[in-house]
């Protein structure tokens, strides 16, 4: 009739209960999110390729063939073309995925463990402990992420392991802050109070009552964070602070290709697409997880 959906975004929905679909669990919500599912499939696929790299029937990624340098994509035998030494780009991408994924996952695990520990202790005990930890985190946050990583790498010396350590340290604050606020939000809930009243030890409450209940938000943090770590590892390798020859990841492939940008742009396009695809996959899965686990945070929701 007159007032259609045109004014919809301007209006608060007058409260009346609406019927929920029959199955509305985090799992079904995630499964219905096409973008998140796409992300999951890509991640699984890349992981599978990386794991199977040694048994896949692909060219040796380090086999130099000076006769076939910088061949364009589509060349028989070199689907994605070759690099400046005639090495097969597809094969190098698959082997590089092992490095990129491993670094991101290990760095995330380190940051997650330490950050969660700090966040839980600060949030749970509060008071002076909280204050001290949070001031320290404030100092870490005073550095733009990449800058702190660069400072650390410069102290430790360039190299993939050091880059990984730097990236891990830089992200501790991310986990610590988010975990702390998650802990604060459930700390005063009745079941925690009840556990405390019944004389349970702090460790017991933390491990049995608090941690299991903040796993969902932590999961979201991890998936959103890993994508960033993949980019960051590639970035450090790209500027020469990460993977050192003969090790090679997607970032160092970009650095190699950069020198031949005029004659063979595919040498940067292919690794770049690989990075974008994987990071996009992690980000969309992370967004999907967040929406599925906490409908209140749903994009555009209230």
């Amino acid at each position: 009739m007159s007032e259609g959906s045109s004014s919809a975004p301007l209006l608060a929905n007058p409260s009346f209960p609406s019927r929920r679909p029959v199955a509305d669990t985090p799992f079904t919500r995630l499964a219905r999110n096409r973008l998140a599912m796409f992300g999951l499939v890509v991640i699984l696929l890349v992981t599978l390729l990386a794991l199977l790299a040694p048994v896949l029937l692909i060219t040796d990624p380090n086999e130099i063939n000076t006769a076939a340098r910088l061949k364009p994509p589509g060349t028989p035998g070199n689907l994605f073309g070759t690099d400046q030494l005639g090495r097969d780009i597809l094969s190098r991408l698959i082997w590089g995925a092992r490095v990129s994924l491993l670094v991101a996952v290990v760095a995330a695990t380190i940051a997650l463990t330490i950050g969660t520990l700090i966040g839980v202790i600060a949030g749970y005990f509060g008071g002076l402990v909280d204050n001290i930890f949070m001031r320290l985190i404030d100092v870490l946050l005073a550095f733009p992420y990449v800058l702190l990583a660069i400072a650390l790498v410069s102290a430790l010396g360039p190299g993939l392991v050091n880059a990984m350590i730097a990236i891990a340290i830089v992200n501790i604050s991310f986990y610590a802050r988010n975990v702390r606020s998650a802990v604060l939000s459930i700390k005063s809930m009745e079941y925690i109070e009840a556990a405390r009243a019944s004389g349970a030890s702090h460790a017991r409450i933390i491990f049995l009552d608090i941690l299991p209940n903040i796993i969902a938000p932590i999961l979201v943090l991890v998936s959103l964070n890993i994508g960033w770590m993949v980019t960051e590892t590639a970035g450090l390798s790209f500027v020469g602070l990460g993977a050192q020859p003969p090790t090679s990841d997607w970032g160092s492939m970009l650095a190699d290709g950069r020198r031949f940008i005029l004659v063979a742009p595919h040498a940067i396009i292919m690794p770049g697409i690989a990075i974008v695809l994987l990071v996009f996959a992690f980000n969309s899965l992370g967004d999907g997880l967040r929406d599925a686990l906490d409908p209140r945070l749903r994009k555009g929701g209230r």
Binding site: S2, E3, S5, F16, P17, S18
Partner: protein, 328 residues
């Protein structure tokens, strides 16, 4: 003969899109409001009270699919959006439930009250400020001259609701819709705000449509009352009459379930069952599944709103014998 109603709603139907499909929040609503009276609309949450109010102002996020809303002889549903904007806040104003959220936190009180004055009466900022001071005085907000320069967070909940009411009456509307205006307030403040609404009505002769789930408020304030159930008015009539002698089984249940409506010494008795969710209304009377007087025909035949005399109406098959005539 009664005077012409200022608002005459007929067969109003409003639908919402939801994950579960189309939901009809207002389902063939009929309602009359006469100049200068206070009409209470009561019902459980989900009965479509608010959806009705927003539909009258055409501010509902849903879709109005049928019916008419005659306001001073014009069907609001036929007006253009621009004509509607000229009407809102000027001839029909609305007061919202939560004074904490119904004021813009970044705008001074004076500017927010002045907004309607500037749009509808063409006042300058300065003139609007002057009028805002008078309005705030009329809702008994002390220090009005200073208050217009304050921001909402500097006021208490009760003070904010006074500001909201001042905003509502700024252009002396013919109809003031108040959607649960006291629900978010402390009990002591509630009484003051209710007095203010009643005072406002007396001074400005605006009709008031008061949406509430509190029968005590209705008993205290309203001339007439309309009881809503599942998007329809199931009973309406003069307040004292209706409370003394409810005709619809739902009204009877509602009165028994609250301390205000029951007879002294009688225990509180909740209505069994749940109100239908706005999606699953089938054939027959929507209250039939919970009705203590239910008969077989109630499940198949939808009752019409029956005229019972004395300004009383009820939507119940069991009252057909006492009805004078039935509306189509």
């Amino acid at each position: 003969m009664q005077p012409e109603p200022i608002l005459r709603v007929r067969g109003l139907k409003t639908e919402f899109q939801s994950a579960a499909g189309v939901v009809r929040a207002v389902d063939g609503l009929d309602l009359d409001i006469f100049p200068g009276e206070i009409v209470g609309v009561v019902g459980e949450s989900g009965s479509g009270k608010s959806a009705m109010a927003f539909s009258i102002l055409r501010l509902t996020p849903g879709k109005i699919v049928a019916g008419e809303v005659q306001f001073r002889g014009r069907n609001l549903l036929d007006l253009s959006e621009a004509e509607m904007e000229r009407l809102r806040g000027d001839r029909i104003a609305m007061i919202f439930q939560d004074p904490m959220t119904s004021l813009n936190p970044l705008m001074r009180i004076g500017s927010q009250i002045g907004e309607a004055l500037r749009y509808h009466m063409g006042l300058s900022r300065r003139q609007a400020d002057g009028t805002a001071v008078q309005l705030l005085q009329s809702v008994h907000l002390p220090d009005a001259e200073r208050r217009i320069h304050d921001y909402p967070h500097q006021l208490s909940g009760g003070q904010r609701q006074r500001v909201v009411i001042a905003m509502g009456i700024s252009c002396a509307p013919d109809l003031l819709i108040a959607d649960e205006p006291t629900t978010a307030l402390d009990v002591t403040i509630q009484a003051q705000i209710l007095n203010l609404i009643s005072e406002t009505r007396q001074r400005s002769s605006a009709a008031v449509l008061l949406i509430t789930h509190d029968l005590g408020v209705v008993a205290q304030l309203c001339d007439r009352v309309a009881v809503m159930y599942a998007g329809q008015v199931v009973e309406q009539g003069p307040t004292t009459d209706l409370f003394a002698n409810p005709q619809h089984p739902y009204t009877i249940g509602l009165l028994r379930s609250t301390p205000h409506g029951r007879r002294r010494g009688e225990p509180l008795r909740p209505i069994p069952g749940q109100p239908p969710r706005p999606g699953d209304i089938a054939t027959g009377c929507s209250f039939a599944p919970r009705c203590h007087l239910v008969e077989e025909r109630c499940h198949h035949q939808a009752p019409a709103l029956l005229q019972l005399g004395g300004g009383r109406q009820a939507r119940c098959l069991l009252r057909e014998e006492s009805a004078h005539e039935s509306t189509p």
